[in-house]
């Protein structure tokens, strides 16, 4: 679709504010009632989903222009997708997140991107990684001693896909290594794409770089298919979303599992036994791309149909991604299975979880905004009294590690795999 195809949605938005707050029924305090990092930080309506709809109308009509301010506004969106979930509490025919990302693509098509995005995209083009400064040649270093099949050279049904962050960040590499050992210990025969392992390009899609996404996705898809892969396991939530939702749109028919889903399954089957006590109170942060954006893609092709004169429907019925079928229970099941762990919840959880701030490439392109967003979450986590915040995404973890709450305090941030390992 092109931006103009969203025109009916732009004009049917009713300024209800559902995109700015957690579901109104779920509000239990003033402090944690809002749920759009972008308008939360920048304050102007322009930065909300409603504002973005209105801005698009104006851009298409030739009134607003893609100057520096508007380019920054367009790209200052973490693509966390809460606006979409919030909208769908009361609306059945608006695709808010799709529009926001299409608006970014419109800016990109017109040559408008942020300075901070350039090194990221240049590195993707040159080294197949979204992390500036990293080299393709070192991508698989983290997996050297893990005895996984090289699916570039041999066939294998289960591919472990670490993603850029776990592949290059020395601290996070250990988590990926632990995840692999955990699965191997439970008897899972894992492989990696080896020389064909590249960025999933999901973040490029979130940033509106559609051509780069399609190029990367097509290449990766061919590599998975050539290796005979039937299941992809990833510890990265961004990669998970890319495979589960975006690659599926391109026709990928491979099972996609996040590590937490597999580990939860293995715990239930008794193949992983958590025996050591980890006396700790933790709170769990739902990564956006594993939670509300982790729903499976459902193919659909159809058209709008009005019934009862003016009621908009779709023929055939269009899939409705309202966020509730994301991966929420698996990580919580794991935490509950760890002896000694006491799970306390934040106010904004599951489909209305607050974003970590790293999404949409914002951790690179808008570091101050990204850090503020992470700080908001740390404030919320600290308000629970937890000793640590646990998550299941390397981008989230990395963004939280350096963040401080409104009083300048930090919180220990753990990948869920780290906790599992402590309990074994």
């Amino acid at each position: 679709m092109a931006l103009i195809d969203y025109r009916p949605m732009m004009e049917r938005c009713s300024t209800c504010a559902g995109c700015k707050f957690i579901p109104f029924e779920k509000i239990t305090s003033l402090r944690f009632a809002e749920n759009c990092p972008s308008i939360g930080y920048y304050d102007f309506m322009t930065y909300s989903a409603r504002g973005r709809f209105q801005l698009s109308q104006s851009l298409l009509d030739g009134r607003a222009v893609l100057d520096d301010t508007i380019t920054e506004a367009i790209h200052s969106c973490t693509s966390c997708g809460y606006c979409d979930t919030g909208c769908k509490i009361t609306r059945y025919n608006l695709e808010v997140l799709e529009h926001n990302i299409e608006q970014k693509a419109y800016a990109v098509e017109n040559g408008k991107m942020l300075e901070g995005q350039k090194p990221v995209m240049e590195n993707l083009a040159k080294e197949n990684s979204m992390i500036p400064g990293t080299k393709k040649a070192n991508r698989m270093d983290w997996a050297k001693d893990l005895n996984m099949k090289d699916l570039f050279k041999e066939k294998g049904e289960v591919a472990f896909f670490a993603g850029c962050k776990y592949s290059y960040d020395p601290k996070l590499q250990k988590v990926a290594q632990s995840a692999v050992k955990l699965l191997q210990g439970a008897g899972v025969d894992l492989g990696t794409l080896g020389a064909a392992d590249n960025c999933c390009t999901g973040r490029a899609h979130q940033m509106g770089f559609f051509k780069e996404f399609e190029k990367g996705a097509t290449t990766n898809l061919k590599a998975f298919q050539a290796a005979g892969v039937k299941t992809i396991i990833t510890p990265c939530s961004d990669c998970y979303h890319a495979f589960k939702r975006q690659y599926a749109k391109l026709g990928m028919d491979i099972e996609v599992l996040h590590v937490v889903e597999y580990v939860d399954r293995l715990i239930q089957e008794g193949k992983i036994k958590l025996t050591k006590s980890v006396p700790m109170t933790v709170t769990y942060h739902d990564p956006c791309h594993l939670g509300r954006l982790g729903e499976a893609y459902v193919p659909w092709e159809g058209r709008e149909k009005k019934i009862y004169n003016q009621i908009h429907t779709w023929e055939p019925k269009r899939p409705r991604y309202n966020g509730i079928y994301g991966i929420y229970d698996a990580p919580r099941n794991i935490l509950k299975a760890i002896p000694g762990v006491n799970l306390v919840e934040m106010e904004r959880i599951r489909e209305y979880s607050w974003c970590c701030g790293a999404g949409g490439g914002c951790s690179e392109s808008n570091p101050e905004f990204s850090a503020w967003t992470a700080g908001e979450r740390v404030t919320e986590a600290n308000a629970t009294g937890a000793d640590a915040m646990v998550t299941a995404c390397p981008w989230c973890k990395d963004n939280f590690v350096n963040a401080v709450d409104e009083d300048g305090k930090k919180i220990e941030v753990l990948d869920i795999i780290e906790l599992v390992q402590q309990a074994m």
Partner: protein, 555 residues
């Protein structure tokens, strides 16, 4: 016409560079197309004018200083918070838009049972904070996504709780109000330094002055802080919810019940409401789900309470005989919540409801007694969080045949209005065919009962220009029914005398020619005098209806 550098820099100096913008793209997001919301002046395709700057003040002092600049240079200004309605947008070319979203504090005063709120404190956040200490507030029918302060200060603000708690104006205590001339007025007890607890004194009681006839839609400056009355809440400190989006539900235990009460006729319906006014047992009362229309409400309820439901399911659901039966059962209906402070109190209220049903031949709708439906409706009416389902069908709606008055008067017009709407649904395609009668609204718009407030929802497509224009024609025709019953202007045209359909303000001359013919022209003349006193440069748009007193003398 861009602001001169001198003016822009002066404004920027007040709020800081980060909180002001004159970027064309940013400004464009502060315009309103009334067809896309509810402006109370009917569907219109026109955008409101483009502001010259958007400014986000944080304090009353900053607002006062902004007003100083505006008065000095003759610049119009308007403040808004959630920007839901056309009422909050500017109406002239030489104007700036104030966005008050940085002002959102809520302070609960348990002892005096009030909340001191800033403009961007929405109903949901005020309620969440109040419930923590066993209190609650009147959330208007517009829903909890709207600003409490804006509703109470600038519009009518009645909703489900109004029958037990009163409407907006009945709940205003002390106020801090920056007048357009830059003076800061503190009303009620606040004005004498005694705190926020009382609206009438010992300081100056000026509620009527700043609110105008029924709320001035932001045209007498900016109310920056207001104390609102809180009322007892016999429920938990944290609203417990369960269920999957979008059909969240709540189980509040045995001391809360939400019923859909149904009657065999409008007469029985009206009599029951009158009985409820007299016996004082209703915590919340609203005719809510009829907004989906007489022919569709039960089927729509099935869709919105199913996480996987879609509007496309309507065509199948309407074939279901059991749902048809339930829908027919709800022809003359409304929803109530009863809340018990003790077990005995609850038993009494249950008995009172049953007795009224017995006296009027009414019944409780069976489908709405099912636990899921009950808990959905209970949460809906308690929080008013799903109110934006108003737009679910077509993306736009307006309220026609609006009425705030006696229930007996209301039912006089009901079937005639329903027939006219049904005729339009059947013979034209501009509005959704929901079954003619779609009257919804508050059981009582004033505390203790006495006056209902309702409107017929008319759903249309904001993207479809023919739908917008056709709906406008339909509404124009409805005025005949209003005239016949002497109901005054139709609800959705209430603001058509304060903003042109092209989004612009009226001139004083235009207002003079309108209001000099009003039954009580002196009301508008007094508002003129008030405006002259507090807003001598006439810089806040024309939502305050004014008549130059000289015109009355001429007449």
């Amino acid at each position: 016409m861009a602001l001169s550098r001198e003016i822009y820099q002066a404004l920027e100096a007040i709020v800081g560079k980060r909180n002001i913008s004159e970027n064309i793209g940013v400004l464009e997001t502060y315009r309103n197309i009334p067809a896309q919301g509810s402006g109370h002046y009917g569907p219109s395709e026109h955008w409101t004018p483009l502001p010259q700057a958007v400014i986000l003040p944080k304090t009353a002092e900053e607002i006062k200083n902004i007003f100083g600049i505006c008065n000095k240079y003759g610049i119009e200004f308007k403040a808004s918070t959630t920007f839901w309605s056309a009422m909050g947008y500017i109406g002239g070319d030489n104007a700036i838009q104030m966005d008050l979203r940085r002002m959102k504090s809520v302070e609960i005063d348990v002892k005096n049972m009030c909340a001191v709120v800033e403009p961007f404190a929405i109903g949901a956040t005020v309620q969440a904070e109040a419930m923590k200490v066993g209190l609650n507030l009147n959330i208007p029918g517009v829903g909890c996504s709207a600003s409490t302060l804006a509703n109470f200060s600038s519009w009518i603000a009645f909703g489900p709780n109004s029958i037990s708690m009163g409407q907006g104006s009945e709940n205003i205590l002390g106020m801090e109000w920056v007048l357009p001339n830059g003076e800061v007025m503190r009303t009620g007890s606040l004005g004498s330094g005694d705190g926020w607890f009382c609206g009438e004194g010992p300081g100056p009681s000026q509620r009527g002055l700043v609110r105008g006839i029924f709320g001035n839609a932001g045209s007498t400056g900016v109310c920056t802080k207001m104390a609102v009355r809180l009322h007892p809440w016999p429920g938990p400190a944290k609203l417990p919810t369960y269920g999957d989006a979008p059909s969240y539900k709540t189980d509040l235990g045995d001391n809360f019940k939400c019923y859909t009460l149904c009657y065999p006729s409008w007469e029985a319906w009206a009599r029951s409401i009158q009985y409820f006014y007299e016996c004082d047992v209703v915590y919340s009362g609203h005719r809510q789900f009829n907004m989906f229309g007489r022919d569709l409400k039960a089927f729509m309820l099935k869709i919105i309470t199913n996480p996987d439901g879609q509007l496309a399911d309507l065509e199948t659901l309407v074939q279901d005989p059991e749902l048809q039966k339930q829908n027919a059962s709800m022809k003359f209906d409304y929803q109530i919540i009863i809340a018990g402070y003790t077990k005995r109190d609850m038993e009494y209220k249950e008995k009172a409801v049953d007795y009224i049903l017995e006296q009027t031949g009414g019944w409780k709708n069976e489908m709405m007694l099912e636990k899921d439906m009950h808990d959905y409706a209970l949460l809906y009416l308690t929080r008013m969080g799903h109110k934006n389902l108003n737009f679910v069908m077509c993306g736009a709606y307006e309220g026609t045949f609006g009425l705030s008055g006696n229930v007996w008067k209301a039912i006089q017009v009901a079937e005639e209005a329903a027939a006219r709407k049904k005729y339009w649904e059947q013979n034209y395609t501009h509005i959704a065919a929901t079954g003619g009668e779609s009257a919804m609204g508050s059981l009582s718009g004033i505390g203790g009962g006495g006056a209902t407030g309702w409107e017929f929802f008319v759903n249309f497509d904001a993207y479809d220009k023919e739908s917008i224009r056709g709906t406008s024609k339909f509404i124009d025709g409805n005025q005949e029914i209003h005239n016949k019953y002497a109901f005054g202007p139709d609800f959705c045209r209430w603001n058509s005398d304060v903003r042109h359909m092209n989004g612009y303000n009226y001139t004083q001359e235009e207002h003079d020619s309108m209001f000099v013919k009003a039954p009580q022209p002196w009301v508008y003349a007094y508002q003129y005098k008030i405006r002259e006193a507090v807003n001598p440069n006439n810089l806040c748009g024309t939502y305050l209806r004014t008549l130059n007193p000289d015109k009355i003398e001429t007449k």
